[in-house]
Amino acid sequence: MATFGNNNLSAKLVLLGDMGAGKSSLVLRFVKGQFLEFQESTIGAAFFSQTLAVSDATVKFEIWDTAGQERYHSLAPMYYRGAAAAIIVYDITSTDSFERAKKWVQELQKQGNPNMVTALAGNKCDLEDKRKVTTEEARAYAEENGLFFMETSAKTAINVNDLFYEIARRLPRAQPAQQPAGMVLADRPVDRSRASACCS
């Protein structure tokens, strides 16, 4: 969950997606500015942190990069539990990875924190000639599910920082309202009940 300090926000962020979609590469590009042509397959999960300045506040991201292999799926709830933000990554050159991303979206909608800021990232957008998932299709899906969508490339750094900035920008707004909608927990009902009790 995101927590506030004096204009300093600390937020847990988790990356989910199919294996080889480029989750680790995205994080590495964002945190260290590096890109490895052949990023080693993540075993389990990796932890990074990075601080961003957004307008008058700073956001410290605690990033959990998870493994994409199906085998580790059952461990994922441990990572997205309590996360303030999630990036679901797919590979634009693979329709399977897009389908997998949809499964993640469903799972988060069902199990995740309802106020979570969720982003859908179509990675490897530098490989335009091998594209299998059209931007329109992904954008339509994202809009339908209230996700915010970007196509990124960890290799060329296109949109990588923008993605994280946009999440940081959206975080405070996604905080739960102080008063829940609908019912008011005011003192009034008590007083009124007393009044009505003596009237009757």
Binding site: Q39, G44, A46, Y72, M183, S200
Partner: protein, 944 residues
């Protein structure tokens, strides 16, 4: 009129009096006004002055100034003033309607009693300020009435004026109205409170009563042309529940003393037998009955025989049916202890939470030294052992089969950190709500016994009841539930382990056939389970990778046979599709793998904290997954002797195996060795996957060190349960009890009431956000939080009551869903201001009486609310009025008779221009009667 001479004098002097209202002033000036000679005349002038003021102001200004609303009536307002005559004080009230145009319909709901009785709109009432509030002697009343009449005609007003007479129970009035220069209307109303003559109980007699009035007054009319207008309103009330039923249910109550808790002995009938909350308590039916109003609109009658016919006519012939529920006053009374339901118990639970901070351990609450642990006090009493035994039996032994519960709670329910409704802990919480008086000592007592029972399950390897067989832990639930889930899994694993040992024993002693049989029975499903969980792991994209497990058990048989042939292969779960090993052309076998270790949220937190502390300097974060990977590799090696790393990757991480060419793919299945290579990232030098592969020994799952040690983890769970701090227990209980109570209410069948659905959804949101601070490790302001929780109880009470009402209305009008929803919606809107969502202030001294019109097709459903009386009932009741509905007499019959006459100018001076065609109501009679009282109000217009 006797006062006519005064009247003219008054008229002359009227102008002066307007300016000089103060009597004392006059005296000082010494002016002797002879028109004010008597006190009676002064009284008249006083009345006149007040009336003039009211006339000048008009309704609009009066409303702004001092007029008050009359009861619940929407349009009616009144102003009043006090007057003195002699030694007597009088109170004059002017009732007027704001913004209603023209004459109201006959049976308008909003009518004041006098309006209804006499067919007037605005009116004056003058009554003595005495204990009885009526004028007791006849001369005084007529004097009073004349005084008003004079005053009113002086100001040229034609308000009707009324004076209450006789004793108050008769509700008798006399009245007079000046109607222009020609007509005067006189009013007279009275009531018989007992011994109504039989003749007047029937329509025929009442009709004759009315006719006799004008036949007497206006002899001019020939009797043949009476055209009497008639309209009638019948009110029926649903019969009370049969007395015999009540006795039965009370006996039932006594037979089952365990269920009965404080305040529940008042239940009359178990109307809510199949409602979801009856498992815990029985609610008072908030709908006491219905009142049905059948209205016959205006008709013309010419003889008493027609009236007699009408008395036998079916109520279904009435033009209009209106209905409204009689709602129990308890709905509106939310003083503590009045309503027994989830809310009252939750309230107690919150008090227990408050008290839970007093001690370190739950046992402290039970120890004798604890001050204030006086067992005699009901607030700290612990129920007797028999009750405890029953509760534990219900928790652990009854209805255990529901372990594979469907997720009943909606997604809103999940946002409350509790436990699913059917789970062991949620049931524990609900039971403890009703365990004794839900005080901290009773809860501590029950918890300790509960944990003891859980430990017994663990030690005896009995599956935990009411826990889902799902092998995952739901992290959105409360920690105790997670721990119990963990324990259930550990018991299952331990059991499996135990049975495996048994199997080995069996192999050694094949003679013991009994054990043999038993073990086989148990082992079979266990294997299936781990098998299927494994398959589900791997079946994600068989199309792409070409991997598919043979799912049919029969197909798996050959592999078991094969196992005997190939002694080296161990721990195989079956062949993987058509895949073959790269080096040996053997079929690839999928190994049995260990389930991923499961963790409760506290274990997680520990791990994440450690990782965050170390940062990403170490590859610590992946340690757990590294262990899993290593275990998988060992198992794969054991199941596939001679397999290489590439084989493992093809099975485990198929996208890291790249086919050379797309066109080769069709041949791929056939040709050997398969084309392809490891992905670049897997083939990098120093790849950690390969390192782990190299380090992993070939070991089937059965010989590996388990990723999750069930015995250790199980003991850890029990340790947690046994050493849980009281406040930690109570915090989780509060959340879970709120959630389980809301879930229970949410299961109620109440049809399709939109308002109710919305409110329930809002309730979940409110619960989730208010209960959230409870999860915090440290409470900055305990008193405030407890206060918030008590407020939450109030919110909960509103919803609980509304749900019960909704269910009650729904089940009573099952066949008229539109009507039942409309009725509920009316009540909901009536109740809404109580919930504090809107700013309008609301006085609840008023009863709910919004009526809903019954559509023609819904009449049958409504008539079913009036079951034909049983022999028992009809024996008791004497029917006397007629107009029966399914054998039930109306509780009230109201009739308005009226005759109209064409006004001819000939009666009075012909100098007054008068349209001869105008019809005026000459006689009007309002009759309101039951079988033992009768009220008659007559208004007569006459020219004199």
């Amino acid at each position: 009129m006797a006062s006519s001479s005064h009247l003219t004098v008054e008229k002359e002097g009227g102008g002066e009096q307007e300016e000089e209202e103060d009597e004392t002033l006059e005296e000082i000036e010494g002016f002797d006004d002879f028109t004010l000679a008597s006190s009676w005349e002064r009284f008249i002038s006083e009345i006149e002055a007040v009336c003039r003021l009211w006339l000048v102001d008009g309704p609009k200004n009066l409303m702004e100034k001092s007029a008050e609303h009359v009861g619940s009536r929407k349009y009616l307002y009144k102003v009043k003033c006090e007057l003195k005559h002699g030694i007597k004080l009088y109170c004059m009230e002017y009732y007027f309607e704001a913004s209603r145009n023209g004459k109201a319909a006959h049976w308008h709901d909003d009518l004041h009693d006098l309006q209804l009785s006499f067919g007037v709109a605005d009116f004056l009432v003058i009554a003595p300020l005495s204990a009885s509030g009526v004028v007791l002697d006849a001369p005084e009343s007529s004097k009073l009435l004349s005084a008003i009449a004079i005053a009113l005609s002086n100001c040229g007003s034609n308000w009707p004026a009324f004076v209450p007479v006789h004793d108050p129970s008769r509700k008798a009035y006399i009245g007079i109205q000046n109607m222009g220069t020609i007509f005067t209307r006189r009013f007279d109303g009275d009531r018989i409170g007992s011994q109504v003559p039989i003749r007047l109980m029937h329509l025929e007699g009442l009709y004759e009563l009315f006719v006799s009035k004008f036949a007497l007054y206006s002899v001019d009319f020939s009797t043949s042309c009476f055209k009497v207008h008639f309209t009638m309103k019948l009110t029926y009330r649903t019969p009370p529940y049969d007395y015999d039923d009540e006795i039965e249910s009370e006996e039932h109550e006594i037979k089952d003393p365990g269920r009965a808790t404080d305040g529940l002995n008042l239940i009359k009938t178990q109307w809510d037998d199949d409602c979801p909350w009856t498992e815990w308590y029985s609610a008072e039916d908030p709908v006491k009955g219905f009142e049905l109003i059948a209205v016959w609109s205006s008709r013309m009658f010419e003889g008493s025989l027609e009236m007699a016919e009408l008395e036998n006519a079916s109520s279904f012939d009435a033009e209009k049916w209106l209905i409204y529920p009689i709602v129990s006053p308890n709905m509106l009374d939310d003083s503590l202890g009045k309503f027994v339901g989830f809310t009252s118990q939750l309230h107690l639970l919150i008090s227990a939470l408050d008290a839970s901070f007093e001690a370190q351990f739950l046992e402290d609450f039970l120890s004798a030294e604890n001050p204030g642990s006086d067992n005699s006090k009901s607030s700290t009493a612990i129920p007797p052992p028999t009750v405890l035994d029953r509760v534990l039996k219900e928790l652990f032994h009854d209805g255990i089969q529901c372990s594979d519960h469907v997720e009943l709670g909606n997604k809103y329910s999940r946002s409350i950190k509790g436990a699913p409704l059917d789970s062991l802990f949620a049931q524990f919480c609900l039971h403890s709500l009703w365990f004794g008086s839900c005080n901290i000592r009773a809860i501590a007592f029950l918890w300790i016994e509960f944990v003891r029972e859980v430990r017994w399950c663990w030690e005896e390897l009995q599956p935990l009841p009411r826990m889902s067989v799902d092998s995952n832990i739901d992290l959105s639930t409360c920690l105790i539930h997670q721990k119990l889930q963990m324990l259930a899994i550990c018991i299952r694993k331990k059991n499996l382990f135990h049975h495996q040992n048994c199997t080995e024993n069996k192999d050694r002693n094949p003679t013991d056939s009994k054990v043999d049989f038993q073990v086989d029975l148990h082992k079979e499903p266990m294997d299936d389970k781990s098998d299927s969980s494994l398959r589900s792991d791997w079946q994600h994209d068989p199309k792409q990778t070409g991997i598919s497990l043979i799912k049919d058990a029969k197909n798996a048989m050959p592999s078991a046979n094969l196992q005997q042939v190939d002694q080296v292969r161990r721990g195989s779960a079956g062949v993987v599709g058509s895949m073959t090993l790269l080096n040996s052309f053997q079929e690839m076998h999928a190994p049995y793998t260990q389930d991923a270790p499961i963790m409760t949220e506290d274990m997680h937190e520990e791990r994440l904290h450690a990782v965050e502390a170390f940062g990403d300097a170490f590859s610590f974060s992946g340690q757990l997954e590294r262990d899993i990977l290593s275990s998988d590799m060992s198992a794969f090696k054991a199941a596939n002797p001679g397999a290489v790393f590439e084989d493992f990757i093809r099975w485990h991480s198929p996208r890291d195996w790249e086919d050379d060419e797309m066109e080769d793919k069709s041949r791929d299945d056939m040709s050997w060795p398969p084309h392809g290579k490891l992905s670049q990232r897997m083939s990098e030098h120093g790849n950690s996957w390969r390192q782990i592969w190299n380090d992993s020994p070939a070991l089937p799952v059965s010989e590996q060190k388990p990723l999750l040690d069930p015995i250790r983890e199980g003991e850890k769970v029990l340790h947690y349960l046994e050493t849980l701090r009281p406040h930690q227990l109570l915090e989780q209980m509060v959340c879970t009890a709120f959630r389980a109570s809301a879930d229970t209410l949410n299961q109620t069948a109440y049809g399709d009431y939109k308002h109710m659905k919305t409110k329930l959804r809002q309730l979940y949101l409110t619960l989730a956000s208010t209960l959230k601070p409870l999860q915090a490790k440290h409470w900055p302001n305990k008193a405030e939080l407890i206060g918030d929780l008590k407020q939450l109880c109030l919110v909960f009470e509103h919803i609980e009551k509304l749900v019960i009402l909704a269910a009650s209305v729904h089940r009573k009008l099952l066949k008229a869903p539109r009507l039942s929803e409309a009725i509920f919606s009316d009540y909901f809107n009536f109740y809404l201001p109580k919930m504090g969502t809107c700013l309008a202030s609301m006085c609840y001294d008023k009863e709910f009486d919004t009526k809903q019109q019954v559509m023609v097709h819904e009449r049958d459903a409504v008539a079913n609310l009036f079951p034909p009386p049983t022999a028992n009932q009809s024996w008791r009741k004497v029917l006397s009025m007629g107009n029966l509905l399914n054998g039930h007499e109306p509780i009230l019959r109201e009739i308005i008779f009226s005759v109209y006459d064409r006004v001819s100018s000939g009666h009075y001076g012909s100098n007054i221009p008068m349209t001869t065609t105008e019809e005026i109501e000459t006689h009007r009679m309002y009759i309101c009667g039951t079988s033992n009282d009768l009220r008659v109000a007559l208004s007569v217009t006459s020219w004199d």
